[in-house]
């Protein structure tokens, strides 16, 4: 039985962006379900049993012929993915989880990305069509991606790097503090964030202090991706929840942030 959330796609392009990040363009070969910003896919990168499990990647962008994924080459699975060529076919499960709840017309979306976290929020910025204030941080200039494309779709963009090699020197959390303190004109801000755990925890804390609603997209190790194995648990104020099913996007105040 072929289902629209388990489908095959063909690699159209697997383009290196720098030494350890690639942009993967896939064309679906089977009918596929329409994804929402913030949802993710599980990709099978091997035919054999090692590596065995699928790898989770956010929807980076919906394209007319399929989807794109922006990935960091981290270990075994992503190294295999990097070496895959145009024309190769992959099995995908998705779109999975819940995407970002869209803001209402009178809210001002602040979209915050740390490093590869841009992969998850890019399509949200796109969908918000020039309404989003985007804060995008990375360690170094070489790790800031798609800033040209972002240029066409944001309302305002602040980039920052740890060493100041590009944009503001500092983190997106510093940028957020500055922004909230110096802009009283901003109507009902709401935060959308994806990035390293420490960054998300700091944003959650800031959001609480400023009484701003914040949504954070989390990562956890996964096996099934569909809510069956309970492997991807994250601690919340109402017990463990599954990142793949109740997440990956959570209200940041709901998460019990680990130090």
């Amino acid at each position: 039985m072929s289902s629209s959330r388990y489908f095959r796609a063909e690699i159209r392009e697997n383009r290196p962006l720098n030494g350890n990040h690639n942009l993967l363009t896939l064309a679906n070969l089977d009918p596929m379900r329409e994804p929402q910003p913030g949802q993710f896919y599980m990709l099978q990168v091997s035919k054999g049993s090692d590596p065995l499990l699928k790898r989770a990647f956010s929807l980076f962008r919906r394209t007319p012929e399929g989807i794109q994924i922006l990935y960091r080459i981290k270990g075994k699975g992503t190294s295999i993915l990097r070496d895959m060529k145009e024309g190769a076919a992959l099995d995908l499960l998705g779109p999975l989880g819940n995407g970002y709840p869209m803001p209402s017309d009178d809210q001002s979306p602040l979209v915050i990305a740390g490093g590869i976290g841009i992969a998850s929020v890019f399509s949200l910025v796109e969908k918000l069509s020039k309404k989003a204030f985007v804060f995008y941080g990375a360690r170094l200039e070489e790790e800031l991606f798609m800033t040209d494309e972002l240029g066409k779709i944001y309302k305002e963009l602040v980039v920052c790097t740890d060493d100041g090699s590009c944009g503001v020197r500092g983190t997106v959390v510093d940028v957020l503090h500055d922004f909230v303190k110096n802009r009283d004109g901003i109507q009902r801000p709401v935060i959308y964030a994806c990035g390293p755990h420490v960054m998300l925890a700091a944003i959650a804390k800031a959001a609480e202090a400023y009484s701003i609603k914040a949504y954070a997209s989390l990562e956890e190790h996964m096996a099934c991706g569909v809510g069956a194995c309970l492997g991807c648990a994250v601690k919340t104020t109402s017990g463990y929840k599954r990142v793949c099913k109740e997440g990956p996007v959570f209200d940041s105040q709901e998460i019990v942030w680990q130090p």
Binding site: Q44, S49, L52, H221, V226, A228, C229, L230, A233
Partner: protein, 306 residues
């Protein structure tokens, strides 16, 4: 060729074919229903349940290892009452046997859980997971001492007339002793193997990868161990055996049947291919066609001949 017979019997429970799901890898059935026609399965075995809901372990709970994975879910579950009220209505819609996997912290809890599950409309069988610690008696695992196994199975047997499968732990010196203890205490079948206790350490952080430190190994990596254990248990007991551990294909499943299993369960493979269960069933049917096997039962234990 005459119609192929795929039906198998587990005690008085009749399954339309030998392919079941392995507990804990298929949720409560619902999670995979968009990928698999549940009506095609021999049985759906649900995530292990206890009388009271359980929180489970802190993350990370799963890590991948060579051709396998370690899990330390910590038996998280919604509890028997919520399962009955929230999950059973869905499962009753299918023409597939529902087998409920359950566990307890003490002999009394096992017995009470079995009693509560018996008589619930739509539950066709019970699988008791004895790979859990006995809180009352020094936390030793129920399934590693044949005397304790006999006692807990015996108490459960008194409280249920449903077909009772005892799921054996492979973390023992001689699994056939445990199988015999379960059979003698009234089990209608045994299932094996549960996961093998293992560990993985991150050489960068120098710490165990799982928050729980140890976890249960499953997947293709464990298959040879599981095959050997099914083979041994087949020699030790008369009750049917449900074989599992690393089954990824129809051929893998056939290997279990030849070693002595009457039915098989598919676990980790569901994570690799959400349609694995029915693909494995198709693989078994292919094999039977090629070999001219008319009846699935004739494969069971064939590797012991001669």
């Amino acid at each position: 060729m005459a119609a192929m017979k795929l039906e198998v019997h587990i005690g008085k429970l009749k399954l339309k074919n030998p392919v079941m799901t392995a507990s804990g890898t298929f949720g409560y059935g619902e999670e995979y229903s968009e990928f698999v026609d549940l009506n095609r399965l021999g049985a759906v075995v649900v995530k292990g349940l206890s009388l009271e809901p359980k929180q489970g372990n802190p993350p990370p709970r799963v890590v991948e290892t060579a051709s396998g994975m370690l899990n330390a879910i910590g038996l998280q579950n919604i509890g028997i009452e919520r399962f009955i009220s929230e999950k059973m209505p869905f499962l009753r819609r299918y023409d597939t046997a529902v087998i409920v996997n359950f566990f307890g912290d003490s002999v009394d809890e096992y017995a009470a859980a079995a009693e509560r599950l018996s008589g619930v409309d739509g539950i066709h069988g019970l699988e008791m997971n004895i790979s859990c610690p006995n809180k009352q008696e020094g936390w030793c695992i129920f399934g590693t001492d044949p005397k304790v196994t006999a006692r807990v199975v015996g108490e459960v047997r008194k409280r249920t007339s449903l077909p009772l499968i005892v799921k054996l732990s492979p973390n023992v010196t001689d699994i056939s002793l445990m199988a015999r203890a379960a059979e003698d205490a009234g089990a209608d079948a045994v299932s094996l193997i549960n996961t093998l206790t293992g560990m993985a350490i991150d050489i960068r952080t120098k710490k165990p990868r799982l928050a729980n430190r140890t976890g249960g190994l499953s997947g293709p990596a464990v298959k040879p161990v599981a095959i050997r254990m099914v083979y041994e248990v087949f020699r030790a007991v008369k009750v049917p055996i449900i074989g599992m551990g690393g089954i990824m294909s129809g051929d893998d499943a056939v290997e279990f049947l030849l070693a002595g299993a009457s039915a098989v369960a598919v676990g980790t493979a569901n994570f690799v291919d959400p349609g694995a269960t029915t693909a494995i069933l198709d693989g078994i049917i292919d094999y039977m066609e090629k070999e001219g096997t008319g009846e699935i039962g004739s494969l069971t234990g064939t590797a012991h001949a001669g």
